[in-house]
């Protein structure tokens, strides 16, 4: 069957819900939170319309949402959930549990700022705070990537048995309608076969206990297994991304998507929806003679060290755009990127721009202003300061 996309104008949240439907998820346990809510509303609608045969658990909290997902996944079912910010934070304990139990749950997190003060707007600190839980993290630039990301996530997660978070921006994607090319069910089924679980709780002839106490004599090895699975995941991500491109024309074989890198003096590096605006701005900057490019980090976990090195080797500077902050240090992507390069000896000049926290709009004009600043840094070879709170009212 040839791929003729089913084009729909949908919000990022609906793109996520359609992807879950097309992935034939079997259990959904979720709790409402702005701006994630319309994902589960849409899934409830699919069930109500008879479009989906899903066991839907309307749990009483996000902690229970992830716990119920873990229970369902341990039976061998394909499981989906979604959350945001405070909800994700409440789930934190169980995120470790899902990864430690090696359950390939896929979750969409709508990036939203952590309170207080209350905010419902875009910010990456919620998901980046879950960095060390053992989950893989994919940041979507647009609604198409939300849809594609969920489908690929199941394939990758179920290959390496590691849970995966697909991350979209609050409102900027979650509530924005865009054209999304969906995939006919038959072709999704060919791409994504039913799950083959690592273990299940349904073999009563050979019963097992999962997650028992491991003493210092044994715990260590299980951590290593997860670390290895993440290393393995890099290969799987690339091959699944390539296969996706071959089947559906949208290539995801790179964990970092780049543009104008060959002759760029410096690149903007960042994650998620703000990179769409960066791409638009870079086109304009190129016309104005700036030798600038972009590097969009799609997968934050596992971290694409090798691809970052290739980029670092070809540019003089990297302007990191962090819509997040780790208090007492700096933007989180900035820390990660610097750390990844340290032992390679390849050290382009890097500056961290803290932008758009709590949903402050990040515009083409902002990208141009940062380009102006970064150009000076690259030309002089000197950092006036390492971290710039770009949007700060002064």
């Amino acid at each position: 069957m040839e791929y003729n996309p089913i084009k729909k104008v949908v919000s990022g949240n609906y793109a996520a819900a359609y992807a879950a439907l097309h992935a034939r998820v079997q259990v959904v346990a979720a709790y409402p939170i702005t701006p994630q809510t319309s994902i589960i509303e849409k899934i409830a609608e699919f069930i109500a319309n008879g479009e989906a045969d899903i066991q839907y658990i309307p749990v009483e909290s996000e902690h229970s949402a992830m716990a119920a997902c873990i229970g369902a996944s341990a039976t061998g079912a394909r499981v989906f959930t979604a959350t945001s910010a405070q909800g994700l934070a409440l789930m934190h304990e169980m995120l470790h549990w899902a990864a430690g139990s090696r359950l390939p749950i896929v979750m969409v997190n709508v990036n939203r700022a952590m309170a207080p003060p209350w905010s419902v707007w875009d910010d990456q600190t919620d998901s980046l705070s879950q960095r060390d839980t053992g989950w893989m993290q994919f940041y979507a630039e647009n609604n198409q990537e939300v849809y594609d990301g969920v489908l690929m996530a199941y394939k990758v997660a179920e290959t390496v048995n590691i849970p995966t978070m697909i991350i979209e921006s609050a409102f900027i994607l979650s509530h924005t309608y865009e054209v999304v090319n969906m995939i006919p069910q038959e072709l999704v089924d060919e791409f994504l076969p039913p799950r083959k679980p690592l273990y299940t709780l349904t073999d009563f002839e050979n019963p097992i206990a999962v997650g028992a106490l491991a003493t210092p004599a044994d715990y260590y090895e299980f951590r290593y297994k997860i670390a290895k699975a993440h290393e393995e995941a890099k290969k799987v991500i690339k091959s699944v991304g390539k296969e996706f491109g071959e089947r559906f024309g949208r290539d995801y074989s790179k964990m970092i998507e780049t543009g104008y890198i060959e002759d760029a003096d410096f690149v903007f590096m960042g994650m998620g929806s703000l990179m769409g605006t960066v791409k638009e701005a870079v086109d304009l900057l190129r016309k104005e003679g700036y030798k600038v490019g972009y590097a969009k980090v799609r997968w934050f976990r596992p971290f694409p060290k090798e691809e970052l090195l290739e980029i670092a080797e070809s540019v003089k500077g990297i302007a990191v755009l962090d819509r997040n902050f780790s208090f007492g240090q700096e933007g989180i992507l900035f820390t990660e990127a610097k750390g990844a390069l340290y032992n390679t000896g390849v050290r382009p000049i890097m500056k961290d721009y803290i932008v758009g926290l709590g949903g402050r709009d990040f515009t083409v004009r902002d990208v141009k202003a940062i380009a102006e600043d970064m150009k000076k840094v690259v030309e002089s070879g000197k950092l006036d300061k390492e971290i710039e709170w770009y949007h700060l009212k002064r």
């Binding site: 409102f171 509530h175 865009e178 638009e280 515009t363």
Partner: protein, 185 residues
Amino acid sequence: MIEIRFHGRGGQGAVTAANILAEAAFLEGKYVQAFPFFGVERRGAPVTAFTRIDEKPIRIKTQIYEPDIVVVLDPSLLETVDVTAGLKEEGIVIINTEKSKDEILEKLKKKPKKLALVDATTIALETLGLPITNTAILGAVAKATGLVNIESVEKAIKDTFSGELGEKNAKAAREAFEKTEIFEV
């Protein structure tokens, strides 16, 4: 790329109007983007929504600051909101009102190139029985801008609202399309 900004009040369907306009343009093969102002407005409070229409994929992820077209669903907003803020020189303004061109122009801070007026509230009340003007005003948008055909608007409306509700709303749009007055300023 054409950028459109809608002004309405919570409950009048400005966000839905932005979505339906996007859907109509999509039906004509365009790339589209529609989104609300990311606020927490409740019913009755001023609301803003946006649509972008382009021939190529739309990558930009910011709000609209310099619209090509401004659509006002509730005439009372002219008293409190600067609806023409950032409007481009060649800009078009479409307003739901019973008032005359001159009365309206007096209220606008910036003069548009083109002004389109329609009494969408009366049309909505007559066709739907409710003062929800979002579908009617889209008829005026089609007429004043030529961005989309009225047929595409009607289809997008019927895709959004099923059955009789869709028919009635499409009728409201068609009627507004016919009754819209356009003035070159």
